[in-house]
Structure formats: structure tokens, C-alpha cells
Symmetry: D2
Subunit: 435 residues, 4 copies
């Protein structure tokens, strides 16, 4: 097994600051969410706390009505162009401590700590120019003035052919490894949507980052964003990364959720140990404060069940987007149904059996015995009976059947599995002794 | 396991008339190739004899300098629009016998028989119009006047929403099943390249054909052409077909062979029992007579080794394009190296470890023990030493190593596998006790 | 001046059957509209009566809820594949008379007669095949089985490289010339939207049709459809045709009308004697009966004024789509404002001075003196004062100004022309002694 | 007439430094070329001396084998982000004199002076940030970090919606007007090829530059680069600019020259006073020194005649790319044939009569009498007789005919004009007394 596949032997589960805080999260808020996770979610497998985009900018979010990211911002970097936390937002980072105190705090809670970065090197560093650590090269010699993001103005891409390029990436991962970072979400790299002719134009930067992680000596999970990932490059993603976004940003919108079935159908043969196509964060509970749109999720409870069922049977990473400290009991219950979450680490081979505009059926197998799983999704606007013939999927035996959402055994089935599923809802069944 | 996956439990191996005969093959020629196969190739696993395109047209190939397919040809069909062999080319088909006598002959040799069809219903039938068997519907009611092929003028696509559409496909597969057909290559269906916005526009015809095969009650292998297949629809192909072309027509041209590495890299996670991404026929030996370009393959011996190595480790179907009766001993030897062919039925999990403009490395595992396979390809114009670190692919043990092309054991290896590979050539190694 | 430019020295004005009758118009209806035109519209310049698509199909429109055009229809053709009027719809065409009696009737009213044809030769003729008049070639030898329309199933394109191709087009224009046809609208030819990579793929058919018209000896105006015409081929259209559609089908919908400003801006330098970019029929009055949607136009009176103002200053052909016999007095008045219509034949050099999302300004010059015209359009949802500085358009003198819609002189202006224009409305001014 | 159309009442003729010097031209070289022009070319109408790209960079061209433009260069700008000449290359610009001394020198020779600029504001200025003259805005407030060039790393586009944007452009044109600049070639603006979906994305910057020129009070000709210009936006170009490139960079390559016929055919209706579609510089004589490829033009003499004939009948601007001081007598003669050059200022209405893969025919009219011009081009590889029927172009009278390249009268013609034209060559005739 590739070393990088040992960094995340099952799909990562955790919390990400973006859906609630946008670019604005601060140390106290991160800690509060971590404390909640340690207490209520860790027993169910959640362990990652991820600080998302723009943590080095002291002014992030201060001009939100005009822009999400501040143009030409002089965000916090060290003499080697490496981003440091904005000290006004992360007070423990002062005096060169960086993220270490916060990471220590999170580790002490029994959790893991992750951060977001943009691909590349700060534009400002290239224009000054600043030095690259451990080299006699300056930033202008490795930065590519034509390699920019379509949506964030901070960085220039790094040209792998230039001396100092790998050293730059090594230097930033050394810093993060020293701080105790366990997970890095790299952005503008999975689909570089600025470049229509080649959305996978950052291929070599993915390789440099992979090498920089191995070079750091720390088991840092590599998560790539944004999507949609390029299916033609699945083999490359599987070789160098642990998870990669298969859609553009996902939010609490039924159209986006319905579309995820198509994305999962494309990627269904590409889920394996250490390799996780990523359906993006789970936008339930309270969301959107940093965007100036604080709200309770627009998803109905049936839609939330559909979301969790698909993410779990497909085995997407599970990153909660909600502000955890405001989690209501229904949402908490939904996120902590152990019979459903069991699939994340204990099933494999999920495939879509059927899909049309009104329904979808998924199937997977248990890792530990000959049980299997069937998920029935109602994509239509009215309640609907959905049926799958076991023979059609090559199963010829009786089966005991259990409803994983309701925690109850049903009558055993012979030829078919059937359920009346509410509009936009789902049912998830475990079949024992099948095949 | 899906029933259709039992029709071809390993990648089909055989012969196809196209590369040598184009549209012109006749009964005597088919028989001669079948006899050769029974004698020389069957012991090594080859068993299919496929009659490719335009066998119902008595004039096929008679205006070759102007066109490959004759516009508005009145080719041989029965009263229900079902194609019958051109009697001048297939004399045994007279008096309504169809392909049965030829299929019987081939079966008696211990081989299997396959034919080519175009998706759809003859245009002529729609304009007359003719009846659909077992219905009171006529061809004009199911034919879609806007659904045509970009390169063959014979057919209109069939609209699955129309009564009689499934019955039409049922009727033709009933006829072929009665004749003893074991394999059908359906064309203009895998990539309907007429329709740029939707190259998979024949999706519903694939489903109708799949159902028609099940309805026929005969185990008919379904092969889809031409490529490139649409990777986003892998799940659909895997559900309804046995093999599908992953490239446009392949010929004896190094650029095309080199490009196949990219095609295989895209499809590497989609090879499984009953599901075979298809690299197309093997254009070696004597080729091109029907095209007016009879020639010995342009591939060098090293390129032929590269081809066979890639097709075998990737587990593509193996369909020989050469005129078998003219096979020289070197080509025969290449096609019948049992240690290499062993991978077709006895290995799995092939993945590309590396690829750049000058080399590629592939890796797969044995089905029966913990052996594995490593293929080293030199894509450059000069000979080259290619090396793979076993540790990089997660293997930490000693290995005994065997060269499968040369049938010789090499010194055991510890950390690396290395070989000096000639330009455009390949090495294929089996490693024992690895991992 | 090119001979073809003498066929239509000013933009053609008339009536077309499509907007009201779809495919179903019959002889009595054509005559009724012609009689109305002769009486009420001819004095204002309208003179063409055009029978639009599918006049040769006796069953046209009988399966309207399923299809606009009947697949594989056996419409009325002669032994040389030339379409004849459906006799059940055009009784005077019996006994081989064709359109001659109807054309004579229309000519006797002092009007001109036009018909619609699809590019190409009937598919049925190619499959039989039928003979080409005056040759020993059959239809299958000139028809291109890959050249079809995206939206009408009747024809195959004709390959200009084949002997008999020009003769086929000559034969149909001979027939139409003999019948007295003055105008032919050829469809699926200006933008062959089936072929995305080359929407002007019928270029050579345009040339053949042009030659066939010259060969016929009759001054037949050539109108090409559908749009959008390809601006890169303006020079070719200007050389071979009299008018060409610059948009897809136009209907009574504000979005389409607003978009027309962009289309006219693209084509503004391509209006000249005998060469008329065509904004399509005028969908006002009663519309849509043949479509099963009989209705009074959805355009408000202000939108109708905008339409007429743009069509007239731009100098589009003016083809009324309304059922004339049901014309109300307001619509009739709108269509017969002679001061506005005057621009069609007596102005030139129309250019757009300004356009943004809320307004547009056009300018043109009088042919006969130094007067000029200014049209002010309000594209926004509220009434709006629109102003143009005369200096900005290079005019430095005083001007007397007349409102052409209201038939009244306004105060003379010095530097600016300004008007308060209602939402979706327009003002049209004539300036005397300017510049 | 629009004021801007008075700045260039005939197509500009002159010299441009790019084809010979690339980014490296210096003051002495500019003067030497100006002196040559004053002496030998000015009598024939040439008058512009244009200093092309990168004149503010002291190091331009010093790393030519790696890059044409130096990434993150600190080129010479003033405190308001306005580029100043590199003092090491333009010594007279020292002490804040800028281009004034050089412009004065050129004016004293009776010539006009032009410079090149990139659209936008220096990236460095945005990152510092620097102030915008006459405002309290800084460069980071008007620069768009997402608006870059695909091929030059110097600038960010300017957002017209931001306060200070127009003032920035005003400030640079004030500076250039004060220096005596008569012509500005603005680059990365006509086709912003970075942005495939919208190659005319700099539309608003064109408008700002136009306003800045009017604001400067100086008659500065506005030339837009690179091409191909977007024909759909012809009206906008005609409103705001004087000339715009209709192709990508043109060099001494037959394929490019042959392609120019297609470009001219597209733009033939868009040549008018003050509005000149631009075929790019004339790469004849000695070229390429700055590119490290100094050479005599690859064009044969026949190809040079074709080039000059097309540029003159089409009425493209004529900018010589050759190093003038090295001009040989044949090239000088070619550039100074007054009978041919006469068309630049004294003809109009050029249209393409015919074009196929082997020949082209163009036609235009004299401004002063009823003479007309016919150019016959042989695009094939062998010599060829090319004939045009006068009747086909609507001319019915006798004509006296003169060969403008050979300065000789030919026999008068009646119905046709014909010439034997050498491969890749052209003939240009003036016809007197034709219609």
C-alpha cells in the first residue's frame, strides 16, 4: 500500500469552518467547536477540526459586501513567504508561535487539526521579491505570473521546473508539520477553473505538495479543492492525494443535492483505502454567518437523510459545515446514527443500480461478512414506492433486512426490496445472508 | 453477479475480419481463418470469429475508391427489416438459412461466432415502410429521422419511447440467437460522434439491446463501438455491456499506440469480470487488403511487444486483425506467448504507476497467489533504463523475478526493478513472494 | 450592380403564412390574405404573399401534438423529385397545374407570389431512387445521406460535386419560374444548426440555388433561413442572396425583441441594395392558429412601436405574420404609418450610436436630402428620458425635428435630441438641415 | 463625422520597431529609422515612427532565450504608475523629460511619433500600492487582480466601475500628449485571448482609453492589438478606435499570408474613414534581430507583391516592419510604388469577388472618378491564368486597363479581365471609364 494511503485509512470525518464562518473564523470559535466535537461527535468517529480559507488575513471579511477576498491584501507571511495566522484573530500565534498552540489544544482534546491553503506563493512575495527558505532563490524566480486563481487574488502558481519550487513547498509543509497540522485542504488545485482547456493544470503542483508532505515526515492528509475533479485524471489523484472534491461548492439546495447522484455515479469505482472522492461539506444545522446570511439549513429532514445516506454509502469524507455549538438535537441525532455511519469505515464497492429523474438505487457490501446495503432514494416531488429486484443484481438467496435509519428489523425478503420513500427522502437497508 | 457478466468471464480473445478485409469478407475467407484459429490459436485461448461490418450488402466494397459504404444501398433484409447475409458472399445463407450454417461450421471447430451490426433500423425500411415482427407497427413509427451515424449511411436510430422499438431489437436478436451467434459488436453506439453535445446519445439503445439479448435466452457477448467511450458513463457501460471501445479506430501507427497509454490510464479502474474496456483489434501481421492497401504491419517488433504487453496487463479483449492464414512464425509466436497471455485471465488490479512522455510503468496482481506483475514501457526514441522502486508502490519484501517475454528467471530483486528497454519496446516481469 | 441585386432594390414587404397557419395554410386562406393586402396594404408598399413550409404534404399538421413535421411523410412530388402542392389543400394545382393558377390569381391582384422550400432533395427520392430531370442521374447519386436538417425530416442535402446536382436545382427553379414564383424562402440553409462546427455548411447549395435562379431567367428574390446567419460569411451572403435571417425564429416575446438590438448591431454595416439582413416576420395581430395556440400578439403597443421602429430604421424586410383578415384598426395603423415606412426605401447607413441594458440609440441618413433619423429605444422596465448629443455624432448645426410616429413637428433642437420614452417603447425622429 | 475619425482620415503609414528589434529598440535606432523615413519614404506617404513594446524596461530582452518579457520586472514608472522610457535605452528621457525630446526630434523631421502600451496598470503599482494622479485613490483600488494578459506579465486590467479608473487612463494620456505622442498602439485589448468565453472582455477599457484621448486634447490615433478582432463587435471598434488587428501576429510565412484573404473577406465591409481593420506590420526586408533570428524576409518577391496588393486594395494601415537603414533597393521600390500606394488614400468599397483554395479576386472603386481596381491573386503552387467577367460584377462597358505594378497600359478590355499570374503572386489593374 502506498504510504500516503495509510494517512487516512477510512474517509475522514470532522468539522470545517467555512460553511458557517466563511473567511472569518477565530481562535475562540475554533476551540469552541473542537470542544463540542470532543464531547458529542468524537465517540461516533468525527475527529478533524479544519480552519478554512484566509486565516492569515487580519482583515478577512471586513469588506464582505464588495468582495469575499480582499484584493492585494497584505496578509501575514514570514520572511520566506509562508503564511502565518493573523494575530488579531489567532492570539496564541503571536511571537512566531504560529498554529502550534492551537494545534496542541486540539490534540489534547483527542482530535486532529487541519488547515486550508491556496496553491502557490503570495503574489506580493513575487513582486518584492522575498527569499525561498534554504535556497538562494527569490519568489519571482519560481512564481508563474500567468498562473492565477479565478476566484481568489492571493497567489501565483509555482513552476515546478524552476530551482527552488520544490523547496518552497517543502518549506511550508515543514512549518505546518512542526505546528502539528494533520490535514491540509489545498485549494484552486483540483479544478483550476481559470484554465478551461486544462482544468487539471496544477498537476505538477499536486505532485510537489505530495512530495513535500512525505518530506515533512508527518502523516498529513491531503485534500484537494475545488471540484469538479477531472475523471480522466482519477489515476493521478489516486496516486498523490487522499481526497478530492467531485463537485463545485455544495450548499443546502435540492438541485445541488440531486446533482450529486450524477457526480457519485461517475466516481463510484474510485473509492478505495486512502482515496476518497469528496462530496464536500455537509450544510445542515446553522450556516452562513460569515457570508452575512446566517440561517438554519434549507434542507428538509428528508433531504438531510438523503444527503447522509448518499455520503455514507458512497463513503465520501464527512465534514460537518454547521456551527457545532448551535447544533439542535435532531441534527445531532442525524449526524450520529452509528448504524448509518458504520458504512463509512466498514463497507465497500458501492455502485449505483439505477438512476433516472425520479429515483436512484445504490448497493454496497459489508467489509466483514456477506451482508450488503441497499439505499433507495426518491428524487421526485411526490412520495413513491421504490423497488429493486435482488435477482437483477445477482442475488438469489433469502435475506433478513434491517432499516438502518429506524433501527428496526423488517420482514425478511426473497426477491425484492421495496420501500415507500417520501419525496426527496431515502431509505437505507442492511441485508444479512444475502448471496 | 449480473447475468450479463457471466457471458464473458475473462476478456474475449479471437479474430475480427475488419483490419484485413474491410467490408468485403466472404464465407470461404471466414472459414479459412476459423480453421487456422482452431488449429493454432485455440490452444492459447483464442475462440471468437467475428464477421465485421456490411455483410448484408452484396456490393460492399465495389466502389471503394469513392466510399467505404455505399449510399442508399439496398442491402439484404427480410420482410421485418432484419439484415440477412448477402447471398453472393455467404452462399450457405441461401433459402432463408441466414448465418446458421456458417455458425454451425464454426461451432464444430470448437469456436464461437460473432457478427457486427449498426445501431438502428435500415433507413430504407422506414421510408417504405416495412413491418416490425410480432407487432402491428411499421418501421417509420420507431425510426428517428434525426438519429444517424456520422460515417455510415445505412440506419436510423430507434426511439425507445415508441411502441415496437424494443420488439424490433428483440426480433433481430431472436434471429441471431437462432442462428447461433455468440457475440455481437454493435457500432455507432458507444460514441455517437455525430452528436458532439452528447456522444452517449444512444444510451437507451444500449439498454434495449441488453434487454433483447436477455430476452433471446442466449449468452451473447455485447461489444460496443466505436470509441472513445465516455468515462462519465462508465457505470452505465458496466451495467449493460461486456466490452466497449476506449479509442477511435486503432491502427499500426506509433502515435496511436503511444496514445493508448493515456486511454488505459483513464479506464484502469474499470476492468472487472464481464466488463472490459476495449483497446480495439491488434493490427499486426498482414493487413489492409479490403482497403486497397494490403501491407505487413508498420509496427516494429518492439512496438508489437509494447502492444501485447499493454493489452495483456490492462486486460483488454484480444482480437487479432491480421489475416490468419498469412501469419508468419514471429507474429504467431508473439500472439501465443502463454506466460504473457496468462495475465488476461489470471491477473487483476492493473494500475499505471508512472507515465510521462518517455516512459510508462504498469503494475497488477495475480489472481491465484501473491505474485504481481510489472511492465516497463519505453515511449522514447532511444533505448532507456527504466526503474521502479518497490517501496514506492508499497512493497517491502524480496522478490524472485521472471521475464515473461524471454521465459527466464532473473536475479532476485530487493528494492527496485530495473530494465534496459529498447526504444518503443517493453519488458514484462512477474514478481513472486512480493509484499 | 450584380444582377441579383436588381431583384429586390428595396427591402421586400409582404405577408407570410407561418406565424398564423404553421404548416397548414390552404389556397382559400392564401387568397383571402392576398385580397386583404391588395386592398389595405399594397398602397403602403406591401406586395409579397409567401406560402411557408410544408405545402406539399397533404397531412401537414394532422399530428401536431406529437410533431410539427411528419416523419417519413410521402408528400407530393413529381417523377423528378420536385415538390408539388398538396392537392387537397391547393385544389387549383390539380392535373399538373401546380402553383400556376394561384400565382396568376395573386399577380392579378397586383401582388407577387412566394414559396418556401427546404434545401436538398426528398429523402424518399434518394431511397427509391427517382430520376433527375434532363439527366441520366438518379437522386441517390446526388443526395448526401449525412446532410440532414436538425428539425425537419424531409430532405437530404445535395452534393455540389456530383454530376446532376446543379441540374436538380435548375429543374426545381425552372418549375417554379414557370409557375410564376417571385420569391423563394429556402430553409435549413443559412444556419445549418445540425453541424455545430460549420453552421454555414450549405455554402455550396446557396451557390447552386443562386445559379439556378439566374438559369431560370426569372427575377426570383432569394431569402435564406433560419438564423442566426454567420457574420464571418457576410461577403458570401451578399454575393448570392437577397435576404438572410440574422436570428433564430422570432416571436412575440420581449426578450427576443430586446436581443434583436444585438443582432442588428452586428449586421449594421451589411445592409445595401439587394442585400438585407432579415429580422424575421412581424408577430403582431392574430397569431398561432396552426400551432394550436391562436392568440392576439403578446407584444404591448409600445413593444410593437419598438419593433416597427427598429425594423424600419435598420431596413429589415417587413413580412407581416398576422392573419390579415383579422387585423384590427390599431395594428393596421401601425403597419401603415407612411412616415415610418418611408425609411425602408429612402434611408441608408443606419448605425447604432449607443446600447446598454436599458436603452439603445440608432441613427441613419435620408437618401434624398441631408435629413437624418434618430431612433431612441427604452429597453428598461420604467419610462426613461433618453438623450443623444448631436456633437457626439459629428453634427454641429441646428435642426428642425419631426416625430414620425406622431406626425408632428417639435421644437427645433440645437445640441441634443431628447425624449421621454415609455418602458419598452421607442421614439423616431427626422432631423432636417442637420450637418 | 466622429471627432476620432478625423485623427486618421486615411490608413496610417509608417514604421514599427517590433519586427526587427522585438523588445530592445533604443533611441539611436529609432532616430536612424526616422531619418531614413524622412528621406526616402515620407514622399510616398509614410509618416509614423512607432516604438513598440517594453520601452520602459531597462532589462528588456536580456533573458531572451528564456522569456520575451521579464517576469516581475521593476520597469520604469513614475510615482503615479505611469511608464517612463528606460533611461539606459532612451538617454534623452532623463530628468523627467520622458519621450518629449525624442518626439520633438521626430516631429522636426516632419514625421509623427507613436508608442506601444499594454492595457492596464503595472502589477507592481497595485501591490505596493501607488497613488493615482489627481485622486486620493491607490492602484490596488482600480486594478483587477483577475484581469491579466496571456502573454505579458506586466499589468493588471483596470475596472471601469471603480472611482479613479478613468482618471488613471486620463493621467497616462495627459503625459503622452504632453510628450507629443501622435499614435498609441494598445495591446492585450482587441482580443484578450486569456478569456476564451469573452475575447472582447476589455470593451470598457477601450471606451476609457477613447475618452482619455479626447480628454487629452491631442489627436492621438488609437490602434488596438492583438487580433483577431471580434467581428461581432465591429460597431464598437468603429465607434472607439482607429485601427484594430484582424489577425494574430503576422510574419513572413506563406500560410499566414494566404489566411489573410479570409480575414479580409470577413472585414471587407468595415473599412471607412477613421476606421481601419489592420492586417499587421509588413515583414519584408531585414527582420528578427531582437528575437535572435536576424534574417532577410522569407517572402519571395511574388509573395511581397501579393502582400502589398492586398494591403493596398483592402486599405489596411501600412506599417513597415523592416529595419529601414538596411533596406535594399528592390524592397524600397516595392514599398514606394506610388500607383499602388494611391489606393490607400484614394479608393473605397473593396470587396472580394471570388476566393477558393487556388485564387482570389478583389475589386474596388476610385474616390475621384469612375475608375475601378481589380486585383488578381494566385494562391496556388503553379502559375495560373485568372479571369474575371466584368458582367458578373455588373460592369457593361469597355475599359482601358493599366497594370499598376508594371506602370504600363494594356490593351483595352471588353468583357473580361484576365492575367497569367505567377504562383503566390498578384496583378493589380486600374480600369478607366468602366461604369
Amino acid at each position: 500500500m502506498l504510504l500516503k494511503n495509510t494517512f487516512a485509512q477510512t474517509p475522514p470525518m470532522g468539522w470545517n469552518s467555512y460553511d458557517y464562518y466563511d473567511t472569518t473564523v477565530n481562535e475562540a470559535q475554533v476551540k469552541a467547536n473542537a470542544e463540542y466535537m470532543a464531547k458529542y461527535l468524537k465517540p461516533h468517529g468525527y475527529e478533524y477540526i479544519i480552519v478554512d480559507i484566509q486565516w492569515s488575513d487580519p482583515n478577512a471579511g471586513t469588506d464582505r459586501k464588495n468582495c469575499q477576498y480582499i484584493n492585494f491584501s497584505h496578509f501575514n507571511i514570514d520572511e520566506y513567504s509562508r503564511q502565518l495566522p493573523a494575530e488579531n484573530r489567532f492570539p496564541s500565534s503571536k511571537n512566531g508561535a504560529g498554529f502550534k498552540p492551537l494545534a496542541d489544544y486540539i490534540h489534547d482534546l483527542g482530535l486532529k487539526f487541519g488547515i486550508h491553503i491556496m496553491r502557490g506563493i503570495p503574489r506580493y512575495a513575487a513582486h518584492m521579491p522575498l527569499k525561498i527558505k534554504g535556497t538562494n532563490v527569490t519568489a519571482d524566480k519560481i512564481a508563474d505570473p500567468y498562473s492565477i486563481s479565478k476566484w481568489n487574488p492571493d497567489m501565483y502558481g509555482v513552476d515546478y521546473q524552476k530551482p527552488g519550487a520544490q523547496e518552497y513547498y517543502n518549506s511550508i509543509f515543514e512549518l505546518y508539520a512542526e505546528c502539528g497540522v494533520d490535514f491540509v485542504k489545498v485549494d484552486d488545485i483540483c479544478n483550476t477553473n481559470m484554465y478551461r482547456e486544462n482544468p487539471y493544470s496544477a498537476e505538477k503542483e499536486i505532485e510537489m505538495i505530495h512530495k513535500a508532505i512525505l518530506n515533512s515526515g508527518r502523516n498529513i492528509v491531503l485534500s484537494l479543492s475545488p471540484g469538479p475533479a477531472v475523471i480522466e485524471k482519477a489515476w493521478h489523484l489516486e496516486k498523490y492525494a487522499n481526497m478530492w472534491r467531485i463537485t463545485d461548492d455544495f450548499w443546502d439546495n435540492w438541485i445541488l443535492l440531486k446533482n450529486m447522484f450524477e457526480r457519485c455515479e461517475v466516481w463510484q469505482n474510485h473509492v478505495s483505502t486512502g482515496c476518497y472522492p469528496d462530496c464536500d461539506m455537509i450544510p445542515i444545522g446553522w450556516l452562513g454567518k460569515g457570508f452575512g446570511l446566517e440561517r438554519y439549513t434549507s434542507f428538509t429532514i428528508n433531504e438531510q437523510i438523503t444527503l447522509m445516506t448518499l455520503w455514507c454509502i458512497f463513503r465520501s469524507p464527512l465534514m460537518v459545515g454547521a456551527e457545532l455549538t448551535k447544533l439542535d438535537s435532531e441534527t445531532l441525532e442525524l449526524l450520529t446514527n452509528d448504524e448509518v455511519l458504520y458504512l463509512i469505515a466498514n463497507s465497500h464497492g458501492a455502485i449505483q443500480i439505477e438512476r433516472d429523474d425520479t429515483h436512484a438505487i445504490w448497493f454496497s457490501k459489508d467489509n466483514n461478512d456477506d451482508s450488503c446495503y441497499i439505499a433507495l432514494f426518491n428524487l421526485s416531488e411526490i412520495s413513491k414506492t421504490i423497488t429493486v429486484s435482488l435477482k437483477d443484481i445477482g442475488i438469489n438467496s433469502h435475506a433478513f433486512i434491517r432499516d438502518l435509519w429506524k433501527h428496526e428489523n423488517l420482514d425478511s425478503v426473497e426477491n425484492i426490496v421495496t420501500a415507500n420513500v417520501p419525496s426527496h427522502g431515502a431509505a437505507l437497508y442492511k441485508l444479512k445472508f444475502c448471496q
